[in-house]
Symmetry: C2
Subunit: 226 residues, 2 copies
Amino acid sequence: MSDVPESYARTARTTPTRYKDRATWEQAEIHAVLDSSWVCHLGFTDGEGRPVVLPTIFARVDDRLYLHGSTGSRPLRAAGAPAGLPVCVTVTQVDALVLTKSAFNHSVNFRSVVAHGTAEQVTDPQELAIALDALVDQAVPGRAKDCRPGNPKELAKTAVIRLVLDEVSAKTRADGADDDPEDAGLPYWSGVVPVATVYGAPVPHPGTERELPAYLRDFQPAGAPC
Amino acid sequence: MSDVPESYARTARTTPTRYKDRATWEQAEIHAVLDSSWVCHLGFTDGEGRPVVLPTIFARVDDRLYLHGSTGSRPLRAAGAPAGLPVCVTVTQVDALVLTKSAFNHSVNFRSVVAHGTAEQVTDPQELAIALDALVDQAVPGRAKDCRPGNPKELAKTAVIRLVLDEVSAKTRADGADDDPEDAGLPYWSGVVPVATVYGAPVPHPGTERELPAYLRDFQPAGAPC
């Protein structure tokens, strides 16, 4: 489906100034981080060039990220302009606190993706339908087929933007406490405290008759609990 | 300590265009959201005016947010300029997926804070020490006193920036499935799936002799698991 190469091109802004060994441009690794989440932080600049960062949900389809919102929202409207909207979309999963004997060496195990580019509004009805289904299924796989699709009035209120994955990298730390050898004798605890996102038992809306769908049983899409 | 009023002033960019009832400018509510987390997304613009969003840790002390990084990192360096660095710092906690009978009404329960302003580098040694301790203690309360403080070489490598909370708001959704009355008869499950950040049992670094400190026992600082 996609003709994106196996590794995204490195550019100045996807090459970190430090901890270069934590960075990757490999498509499979980047997609895996994106697919383990459904919340991103969308960065753009306002009319006066000032940065704005808003949390929102996203979906990945092949080499495209989709975000949505009200047709009245500021970034969604701005992305509808012919030039599109320069954005930075960042997805972060925290995996552990890393405690070392020195304050300085404390760290965090994490996986993050930072994608730069120009977001454009999706106008093709077929792409719009794919994107809206993906936005539901990214968080709850199987859900898009098991709810009422948008009607014309709802669709008219909804804007979707597309960011093609092109200038994108992932950063990962997955390691233990990295104590300095000279700190070895210090009487402080060092180690790792796992952090995870977990999902509780679904709570039906009062009056719901339908039994819990299969896709909501043992629902832990973002990885096993710690 | 702080002479910030009980509510932050509303401005155009801290007043949402939609779901105004989800927004608050109350200091206590904003601080509570900030204090429930230690990860933020820092937004700034690069030398060409393009948005960049990076995940990083933060600490709140009174009405100030502190972020840190290498003295060589791009935003930290930029914040050292006399004019400071225009930033947007966003903190997001996800509390539930909200599934409704229609795709359109699906939602997310969340708490987020968006803070706008100009970040400046901290240069006063006393403020620097407070900020660095707070950055450790925000994630693991009590930890800053129980590890080796930074030595001159480490401190020389570390930059800290300060964002005064001034133009800031919180947004919260904490509600059930909001189905349209006309969807009541549809055969789809609706309800809420709780989401939480949980902490696993600390894993000591091989060879660590110190027993687990009290502040790491039953460690669940970001709220009870679901």
